[in-house]
């Protein structure tokens, strides 16, 4: 499974998200690659789940994949509560 933390430039916000996502998935025993990408290089390919700041939702309009939007990017609980159900749904959908 590949999880992509998305932000405007790939130097700050997405790295913070990536850190929390990695910790949460590890704590729940979920094996995943977690990447931090910027909008410019994100074309939607190869991401099983995209995690982005709520404020960036307009940049994801039309994107068909699984998206998790986070309001408070340093709230581990919010990230966990929103991300885990989507992770489970993705894993359940695998053959």
């Amino acid at each position: 499974m590949r999880v992509v933390a998305l932000c405007g430039m790939g130097f700050g916000t997405s790295l913070m998200l990536k850190m929390f996502i990695g910790e949460i998935l590890e704590a729940h025993g979920v094996k995943a690659e977690v990447h931090a990408w910027d909008l410019g290089s994100f074309k939607g390919q190869d991401a099983d789940i995209v995690v982005a700041p709520t404020d960036m939702k307009k940049h994801l309009e039309g994107y068909q994949g699984r998206v998790v939007l986070i309001g408070n990017l340093t709230d581990r609980q919010e990230i966990e509560e929103k991300l885990l159900p989507v992770v489970r749904e993705f894993l359940d959908a695998q053959p």
């Binding site: 405007g8 916000t13 700041p53 408070n72 340093t74």
Partner: protein, 155 residues
């Protein structure tokens, strides 16, 4: 947090007046300019980023992390803190208004990671963020970062 405290030393401005988010980011950039960490062009790039991509840099209630790209004028990895006298709105639907502004810059993809991780942990602890809002001096701010015992609530 020791490294974060060391990086912020001499780059803290408390209770600064700003009319709007743009002035807040400009003042935050000036703190790093004065320290010799960035060129003035980087400050303008931080403002441009918010205008073009949006106020997603307001990462948690009341806290903004303006930044731009290494090629926009970073001289060395750096982070600062400007605490505003009055919070300003960045237009972020979840985390406005903002009173703590941490501008940062990095010359490449790696040099800032450790400090950014320390900042993320700090910001995930509401008691420490509240202590940053109460701190009277730069020394008090640095003490919070170094893990000084927090005053009991209400004191």
């Amino acid at each position: 947090m020791e490294r974060l405290a060391r990086c912020l030393t001499g780059r803290v401005a408390l209770d600064v007046e700003a009319r709007d988010w743009e002035e807040a980011v400009r003042l935050a950039g000036e703190v790093l300019e004065k320290a010799g960490d960035i060129e003035p062009a980087y400050t303008e790039a931080m403002i441009r980023t918010v205008r073009e991509i949006g106020p997603y840099i307001v990462v948690t209630p009341g806290v903004a992390l303006p930044h731009a790209r290494p090629e926009n004028g970073v001289l060395r990895a750096a982070i600062g803190l400007v605490r505003l006298a009055r919070p300003v709105s960045f237009g972020n639907e979840v985390n406005d208004p903002v009173d703590l502004v941490f501008p940062f810059g990095t010359p490449d993809r790696d040099q800032h990671i450790e400090v950014l991780a320390a900042l993320s942990r700090l910001l995930s602890d509401p008691r420490r963020v509240a202590a940053l809002r109460r701190a009277a001096t730069e020394e008090d701010i640095l003490a919070v970062l170094r893990g000084a015992p927090l005053a009991p609530a209400g004191s």
